[in-house]
């Protein structure tokens, strides 16, 4: 009897649960999840394919390797800002001032570095510190005075825009030196081909290695391995092939920008923090049910503070990346659609506006969608008026999809 029992895995003893085994099981599980409203990355991937097809048919240059490299350069700055937005959205909060924050950071960079002639690292540190400070202010306003982040960040948007104009006041814009590392990093530097291929293989290899390790440990303690080896091999294989093809295609042109590499590294780090640390668990708990999180001993105030500080600091970093991309700190930096693009990217990527759901990857995928639309419309010589309208429409669609998926999840008992 005890022999029989030990043969059934711990998590397989309840006969009511259907267990999806192997590749067919994995596919069946995926279809089930999507039908119940757990869309994950599906809408964004469908959207990307659609966008690429439309723009490519209108202007084949869209998919040229050099244009895609440009797209990646552009994506890094807004992507960083969007990554911070993901953090506050997971808590069910919002930061509307990330655009102004990025503009202010670029102004600080220009003033300290170019106007005052102080070393670049100092300028970068001051700008990042300004970001962290603003996040601290928002979190304090929320924690101490219960001021909704929607309002406090709206106030911050105006205040920081004013400070940015004040800093740049006399000249209106500051040009950053073209020969400097900052500007070359934002405009020219790409990875060596061999390194990019190495990076393309790494995720698949890592997935395989971690997956095998996990299977080994689960088997050791008598837990089942859903999917098993076949699914793991298929997933890592498909991922590696896709990445290799993409990298090879991009290396046919200018190559892969280091700046984009930095952004992806930040996404990977954020993904680890959100999914594999106690802090990340607490973030989702606070976003899902604040009272429950508080009662289980989580310091809700500190979690909020960390999220807002991360968000503003990443916005400052994004602003400096944008400045190095444009080789200037101007009064226009961070204004216009930067704010909404960053928020839209996070939502399009699958992070819920209602809190408790999201992932670092949504910043990466979402920003590629946003930049692809913006880049494609620019290639078609459409005016920015039309570009704004179309981006607005895409954001509306993304929020509708999010809202519908949420209702469907609720009716299927998936929160």
């Amino acid at each position: 009897m005890s022999d029989l029992k030990s043969q059934t895995a711990l998590d397989r003893s309840d006969s009511r649960v259907r267990h999806d085994e192997g590749i067919s099981g994995a596919i069946r599980g995926f279809v089930d999840r999507v039908r119940s409203g757990d869309l994950g990355m599906l809408p964004v991937i469908v959207g990307l394919v659609l966008i690429a097809t439309v723009f490519w048919s209108l202007n084949p240059v869209f998919l040229a390797p050099n244009n895609l490299a440009n797209l990646l350069f552009d994506a890094a700055a807004v992507g960083c800002i969007s990554l911070g937005i993901v953090c506050v959205l997971i808590l069910g909060e919002i930061d509307l001032s990330v655009g102004s924050m990025s503009g202010l950071a670029s102004a600080i960079l220009g003033v300290i570095w170019v106007q005052m002639g102080l070393p670049v690292p100092l300028a970068i540190l001051v700008a990042l510190a300004a970001g962290a400070f603003m996040g601290l202010v928002y979190a304090t306003l929320l924690n101490r005075f219960g001021m909704p982040s929607f309002v406090s960040t709206l106030a911050g948007l105006l205040a920081m825009l004013g400070l940015q104009l004040y800093l740049l006041g006399s000249t209106g814009s500051i040009n950053l030196p073209y020969a400097s590392f900052m500007v070359r990093f934002g405009q020219i530097h790409v990875m060596p081909a061999w390194f990019s291929y190495l990076l393309a293989i790494a995720p698949g290899a890592l997935m395989l290695w971690l997956g095998i390790d996990r299977m080994r440990r689960r088997t050791a303690v008598n837990l089942s391995n859903p999917g098993g080896m076949s699914v793991l091999l298929a997933k890592s294989g498909i991922l590696t092939v896709l990445l290799l093809v993409a990298v090879h295609y991009l290396n046919g042109g200018r190559g892969i920008p280091w700046m984009f590499g930095l952004f992806v590294a930040l996404v990977v780090a954020m993904n680890y923090a959100l999914t594999r640390t106690q802090w990340g668990r607490a973030m989702f708990a606070v976003g899902g049910n604040r009272e429950a999180a508080r009662r289980s001993g989580i310091d809700v105030r500190r979690i909020r503070m960390s999220a807002f500080m991360l968000c503003s600091t990443l916005a400052a970093l994004g602003g400096m990346l944008a400045a190095s991309r444009l080789a200037s700190s101007s009064q226009q930096a961070g204004t216009g659609d930067v704010n909404l693009n960053a928020i839209a990217a996070a939502v399009i990527g699958g992070t819920s506006l209602f809190g408790g759901r999201g992932s670092a990857w949504s910043a990466l995928l979402g920003v590629i969608v946003i930049q692809a639309i913006s880049n494609g419309l620019t290639l078609l010589n459409l005016s920015s008026s039309l570009r704004y309208m179309i981006t607005g429409g895409v954001l509306a669609i993304a929020v509708i999809v999010d809202s519908l998926a949420r209702q469907s999840r609720a009716s299927h008992g998936r929160a």
Binding site: R214, T277, F284, A285, N289, S296, G297, R357
Partner: protein, 265 residues
């Protein structure tokens, strides 16, 4: 077991605890002792102050007066984290689970294994082991709480409170949403917890459940102590103390007599 109550020092001792919300006195002069290996039922009508008392003991509300002693030491429980740290675990009536997280994440919330690289495998094994000890019927620990039934959520909430290895566990209406078999399971579970030497505080409206497991039944009425009973006492006495229908010298005397027997000093 029997002489354990009187000989041992109480884990928790409340003296003159009161709590005021504005003009409303929710609790006044509450006295309560919890010994190891004892189930104390807290009963009372709506608005008797049961939930307020639970929240005071869980660190959610701070008392406006009186002292709380834990293991003989006076303590100030100024946050839920502090209460958990001391060893007072609470299962609230609204369960306080995160619907967007799975069972494992909810069980270990705030006390995850290896905070910088979550040990999901170990947490899952411990979750299964614990749920099996409680003979709980949870189909999968990797499903979000949103997909579980009311009884299953109750089980998860109780299991979670046991993970911290507490000295006292408080259950606020644990059987209110449960079916017949599940209620019996929860009552078994309460007895198993008591036999481990924990103090159990059980808040319930269901007199049948209370009588089945409680060693002492403490009645609250309008925020005050209104007598201590045992399962042997007649139902009408108990109901009278709860509703205050026959609040007279006889019932007060009887209650006092029982209190003296239950807690010799």
């Amino acid at each position: 077991m029997d002489d354990g109550h009187s000989a041992s020092q109480p884990i928790l001792r409340l003296r003159g605890v009161s709590k005021q919300f504005g003009a409303v006195k929710a609790l006044e002069d509450i006295e309560l002792d919890i010994h190891p290996g004892e189930v104390v039922a807290l009963v009372g009508d709506n608005g008797a102050g049961k939930s307020t008392l639970v929240k005071v003991l869980a660190g959610v509300h701070q008392p406006t007066g009186g002292t709380i002693e834990f293991m003989g030491q006076p303590v100030a429980m100024d946050s839920p984290g502090k209460a958990i740290e001391l060893g007072i675990a609470t299962v609230f009536q609204d369960l306080a689970l995160c619907e967007n997280l799975d069972v494992v994440a909810n069980l270990f919330l705030g006390q995850e294994l290896s905070p910088w690289a979550l040990d999901e495998v170990q947490m899952e094994v411990q979750a299964w082991t614990l749920l099996r000890e409680l003979s709980a019927r949870i189909p999968s620990v990797r499903e979000p709480i949103a997909s579980l039934s009311g009884g299953q959520r109750q089980t998860v909430a109780i299991a979670r409170s046991l993970l911290t290895d507490p000295r006292i566990i408080m259950l606020d209406e644990p059987t209110a949403a449960l079916g017949v078999a599940q209620t019996a399971e929860v009552l078994n579970l309460i007895e198993r917890v008591r036999d481990r030497g924990l103090g159990v505080i059980l808040i319930s409206h269901n007199m049948e459940d209370v009588r089945a497991v409680a060693d002492r039944i403490v009645v609250l009425r309008l925020g005050r102590n209104n007598g201590v009973f045992t399962a042997a006492d007649s139902n009408s006495d108990l109901i009278a103390a709860i509703t205050g229908a026959t609040e007279n010298a006889v019932s007060r005397r009887q209650a006092r007599k029982l209190e003296d027997v239950g807690e010799p000093t």
